[in-house]
Amino acid sequence: MHLETFSPPTDAGFPWCDCPQCLYAPLLSTVLWFPERVVVPNRKEYPWYHRSYNRVPTIDQCYTDDPVCFFEANEQWIRDRQVDREIVNILRQRWRDCAFYEGVDAPVKCVELQKISEDAETNFFIKYGDLSAYANVKDCYMKQKHRMLWERRHGPVGTGMKTEQ
């Protein structure tokens, strides 16, 4: 909580919210005086951590009759899916921020970010898309298997099915 982290609204969409730095800074320092000078120095800093999970064998390394291995692989897959969701979200948000900033120039200036975001979404859909809400890691694995079978019979995805000949 420092004075430098707060910037005044100089070009908000609403003219009555605009405030020049010369008026904003004294107001902010008045408000921040109590927490910065009185409260924070009188309390101790102590840490908190993000939970770190060990990697366990994935579903393709589990025997079919091993439910404990399946359970652990499933939990890991759920965590990985959440991470992938957040990644796609972040990439999408970067593109959207660029588009919001550029406004009318977005289709020209934000092309790289758009491509990155759309590639990420495509890959996410290849891996996790069209599985139901109750999907588990086995469904995802079988989806991959079926896609590889289809590709073996018909060629890469997107080139259409071959008729029997």
């Binding site: 409260v39 309390r43 800093e45 102590y46 840490p47 908190w48 951590y49 939970r51 359970f71 939990e75």
Partner: protein
């Protein structure tokens, strides 16, 4: 119910003005007269409930939370040091959450491993039961093992006597 006594004495004159200045008066026995005024029940009840929910609940909780945040403050995110296993409550930021996790909630890792143990145990039992079922089925099919479908003949001598007497009875019967 009870209102802060300061407010009550301050509102005394206003209350008298409200209840004694109405136009309608019912003349009752002797010197008494009842002033007929509209009901103030809902307003009084509202004030009572507002007082309860603020003084009884909102203000203590907010004061507690505010004092905790000012005295103790939230934690700072940091890297886990090498070779250190954090306590369960060190995975949370707010001191109140940490208190609850430390004293009231279950350990997440312990519950995970308990679940795995349960899965292993039930799978073990399931496999044993499958084997039992298969063995029983084979014994029924082949009939070569004494365990399940064997009825021992324990009354053989009585069988023999009954059979002999039945034969003699059938011999003595006139041909039907």
């Amino acid at each position: 119910m009870t209102v802060l006594s300061v407010l009550r004495t301050a509102a005394g004159p206003a209350r008298l003005a409200i209840t004694h200045n109405s136009q309608q008066v019912a003349k009752m026995s002797d010197h008494r007269a009842m002033n007929i005024i509209p009901s103030r029940f809902q307003w009084n009840k509202f004030k009572d409930m507002l007082h309860l929910y603020f003084v009884g609940a909102a203000i203590p909780l907010l004061a507690g939370i505010g004092i905790t945040n000012m005295m103790v403050g939230p934690a700072t995110l940091s890297e886990i040091p090498e070779g250190y296993v954090p306590r369960e409550d060190e995975y949370y930021k707010s001191p109140i959450t940490r208190f609850l996790v430390r004293n009231f909630t279950r350990n997440e890792q312990m519950e995970y491993e308990k679940k795995m143990q349960y899965i292993w145990e039930t799978e073990h039992k399931r496999q044993l039961r499958l084997i039992e079922k298969r063995v029983k089925k084979l014994m029924a099919e082949r009939g070569d093992y004494k365990a399940w479908y064997y009825t021992p003949h324990i009354a053989r001598k009585y069988q023999r006597i009954v059979r002999k007497e039945t034969e003699e009875l059938m011999e003595r019967r006139p041909a039907a």
